[in-house]
Amino acid sequence: MIDKRVRSLAEAVAGIPDGAIVLCGGFGSAGLPDALCEAVIEQGARDLTIVANNAGTGRTGLAALLAAGRVKRIICSFPRSAGSVVFEELYAQGRIELELVPQGTMSERMRCAAAGLGGFYSPVSVGTRLAHGKEHREIDGRLYVLEKPLKGDVALLAAHRGDRWGNLTYRKSARNFNPTMAMAASLSIAQVRQVVELGEVDPEMVVTPGIFVDRVVEVAI
């Protein structure tokens, strides 16, 4: 019998090693796995590399994990946004490394890792500072840079509903990076608002099939 449900947040984040690359879903606060991020503080992993579109807002969720000093490096498209106070403090003090990646490149690098591909040639960033040091190649008269796959050791996800097989649905724009990240990590952990019985989710509506998900924990919010 397959049962990916776990009873607690502690169980959900158990075993995340120090130094792990952690993909963290969300765009702004929509679809951000706040409860899982905070559970990682309790769990104790350090020297993490976080991959997330933004660098947290306020002092909860991802921002709390940053504030606890557990993140040495963040791979991010837009770290600075309204309320990104913790990141800005750490950045100003030189206590966090930032790798800035164009948003679509970040997403596609993870998709490549998920799909078993060695990378892709992208026209994005050509002629800019973010292309420095990257292999350039002209294909059919257009210039591209080589972008390498980005694989996570762990993905922390937020979804709307999930079942014991790990099938996930999302709600509105809270879907964002979560489906790609679910596919791109060795260990994918989802907090869901509601755990439902197997078969309750219409198969046509499943966005992330359970093959990509390892643990499901209900966090009613």
Partner: protein
């Protein structure tokens, strides 16, 4: 009179074609969604996976699962849909959007765009989807204030700030003028009343020339 920010957005909205798929960047361009002409169906795309962005919600309709690129609450129009990020950037990078309206720090006379970093060490850079949009959408237009608050021109011979993409901007809407980037240089299509051409040129580092049929730039009080 110079246009206010909402009037710049109003002016840009008047040029949107019926049936166009359009991305609105954060900042000034976001205001364009308030001024879509009533006789046209325009499908607004938001990089975070929303196709069919509607007007801002009323106070009791706010849903924090439904936000735009600037993380502000939005609504979805009838016929709208949601996709995940990778598909959203397939739309952007793959040339499926007719137009992206973007903000900028600077634009050059060649249409170079600089809008992701000012290299201020105390102010972390943020690229977001700007580079993807700049090379992926079929056309790029920029909405900016003509100068900085200190009066420094934003339309320059060469961008001083690091580029987002080279030679991509085709039209610039400012509080003073509508300017096209052409193979022959910057051409002023519209200029606000009360400002003459030499005054506009003095507020612009790059060389301008008036279109033969240059019109008055005006907007309703919005």
């Amino acid at each position: 009179m110079p246009l206010n920010r909402r009037q710049i957005a109003w002016r840009a909205a008047q040029d949107l074609a019926d049936g166009a798929y359009v991305n609105l960047g954060i900042g000034l361009p976001t205001l364009v969604s308030d001024f879509i002409p009533a006789d046209r169906e325009i499908v607004l795309h938001s990089e975070n996976g929303v196709l069919g962005v509607g007007p801002a919600p009323g106070d009791n309709e706010v849903d924090w699962d439904l936000i735009n690129a600037g993380k502000q609450p939005i609504t979805l129009v009838t016929g709208g849909s949601f996709v995940h990020h990778t598909d959203s950037f397939v739309m952007i990078r793959g040339g499926h959007l007719d137009l992206a309206l973007l903000g900028a720090f600077e634009v050059s006379e060649k249409g170079d765009l600089a809008n992701w970093t000012t290299d201020d060490p105390g102010f972390p850079p943020g690229v977001g989807g700007a580079m993807d949009l700049a090379v992926g959408a079929k056309e790029i237009r920029v909405l900016i204030e003509h100068t900085t608050k200190a009066g420094t021109p934003r339309i320059r011979r060469h961008c001083g700030y690091p580029l987002t993409a080279a030679s991509v901007v085709r039209r610039i809407y400012t509080d003073l003028a509508v300017i096209d980037v052409t193979a022959e240089g910057l051409v002023v299509r519209e200029l606000v009343e009360d400002i003459d051409f030499p005054t506009l040129q003095a507020k612009t580092e790059a060389s301008l020339r008036p279109a033969l049929d240059m019109k008055v730039l005006s907007a309703p009080a919005v």
